[in-house]
Symmetry: C2
Subunit: 324 residues, 2 copies
């Protein structure tokens, strides 16, 4: 496979991370921008600006990999539907490719993260691995038979939109469903449950923060839980068990060697979230699937960006006839 | 691939179906036995008796394929854990192989049914297809990238043990979980909801049947719904929607070309069950997955048996170096 550097982009619901990465996963350039609250046009303009800066810094880069929090049509290069960004049926591969003059390849952001963890991180060597990324939403990536599985046209592996509470809380953004894993176990759900706990228990750290007028978000609930606040720990126990119900389903469906939990919220909360999820899998999955490893991601917040760069390197090699 | 006949066995939670099938899926021998309520030893004795009868009738058969409602270790030939039969860590491949003197191959029963529908039925030509079999329990089979996907050691694709109601109704048999698809949308769940409806609405067909002392089972609820009883139709609408919540998850996870609903209960109820499930997928899955076909199985009650025979023919060919 080519030794050239490629650009990886992790375009999340909150921030955009752009990096230039080589085949040994050395990062020679990195930039970070906000993405929340922007229009489609602003997102494209911001993306083009960051890519131009990366190319100006590393003019030898060979291709761009875009990791998008979307269902994707890989063959046509179209971002079909993003739950947490204003992106619909956008031919982003050709749009960006024409603007910057480099080959562009698309992938789901969590599929890219799964590839990175498979190549360099917690899923190294696994034939079958499941990755969930817990952030504003919940993304999913699948390694099946040693390769990234994306569904028929690249729209699949939307593990965050697995129903765990029938007729439960409405899901986010453009998802028309209720009770999805993303609706009940994402950073958004942690904030929601944190606010409920703060109102119910005014003497807790969460309750005090609420009385002081602070915004009860995922970061604050995490800090409170780490300081030992029982109300906040109870929020993580509940959310972790719900996440674990989804992971139990994935264990029963895929019989994977490892389940990797990544994303910003999981990186911040660590075992506060992953511990109860693991307990749920161990006690509720069918044998032998109840023995699967449930671990945190090793590449932290960079896995989506590193994976998108690696995906672009692979796709470029396949296009050039160098095989997968 | 070999033209020889092979024996296919579909060992379900209620009945055991044994058939001799050729490569054109012509069935030259068939027998049916009860399996419910038997011990492991009685199951093995009954299986050996049926296989001996099949071999006596068609002495040229080349191999046996066992479709079991179990998690499986295919490499070691072990049936690990059946939810609805008393089977635990049973080295059934070698046990049966020694008794009958033919090569024996194992598969999950629903994986076998998925293979049959992929070769000969509703999933013909699909690269990615999901099959659920709705009977006493709910089984699952996956065609991914044109091949049967079974997880790392053959224990996966337990789609019936996907959680759709967190902390919901306890699951069946040996499953330690709650709110699995099998707990809320199987034949057992239809009977349970039918009894609740009969008590709530004494003037309905279901209520009258209950007053007459008849057992409210899946067959009776199906008959009542087909006769137009609103209470029974409402049961199927609820159960169909819950089944549909699971199918929506599978659509979002796999982006399959088709979802096939088989098994005895689905064969009996048809669109009564599949209709509301399809509506749920169309209205709740993410685009483009909401456009997936949701159809009934084409091979009816024989798909597990035909698929087990086809699986044995394939495995034998691979063993003989004829490739997959």
């Amino acid at each position: 496979m080519s030794e050239a550097e490629t650009i990886g982009v992790d375009l999340g619901g909150t921030k955009m991370l752009v990096g230039v990465v080589d085949a040994e996963r050395r990062v020679s350039f990195e930039s970070r921008e906000q993405s929340a609250g922007q229009t489609e046009k602003e997102l494209l303009t911001g993306l083009e600006r960051e890519l131009s800066e990366a190319i100006a810094t590393r003019p030898e880069v060979a291709a761009v990999g875009l990791g998008l929090p979307c269902t994707i049509d890989q063959r046509r290069g179209v971002a079909i539907n993003a739950v947490n960004l204003p992106i619909r049926d956008l031919p982003i591969r050709d749009l960006i490719g024409e603007r910057i003059g480099l080959p562009v390849f698309l992938d789901n952001d969590a599929s890219a993260a799964a590839l990175a963890e498979h190549l360099y991180g917690a899923a190294r060597g696994a034939q079958n691995a499941v990755m969930v990324t817990v952030g504003t939403g919940i993304g999913g990536g699948l390694i099946l038979g040693g390769r990234v599985f994306r569904g028929t046209n690249g729209g699949g592996s939307e593990l965050g939109h697995t129903v765990v509470e029938f007729d439960g809380h409405p899901c986010q953004g453009s998802c028309p469903n209720r009770g999805c894993l993303e609706a009940v176990a994402s950073g958004t759900a942690i904030a929601r449950e944190g606010r409920i706990a703060a109102e119910r228990e005014p003497d807790s750290v969460l309750g005090t923060a609420l009385a002081e007028g602070r915004a009860i978000d995922g970061v604050l609930v995490t800090e409170a839980a780490k300081s030992g606040d029982e109300a906040a720990v109870a929020v993580f126990n509940l959310i972790g068990r719900k996440l674990g119900a989804g992971l139990t389903s994935f264990a029963n469906i895929f019989e994977p060697e490892v389940i990797v939990v990544g994303g910003g919220v999981a990186a911040g909360a660590g075992e506060l979230l992953i511990g109860p999820a693991r307990e749920e899998v161990v006690s509720k999955a069918l044998p032998p699937m109840n023995r699967v490893s449930v671990v945190g991601a090793e590449l932290g917040g960079e896995s989506g960006m590193i994976g998108a760069a690696a995906m672009a390197r692979r796709e470029l090699a396949e296009q050039n006839g160098e095989g997968p």
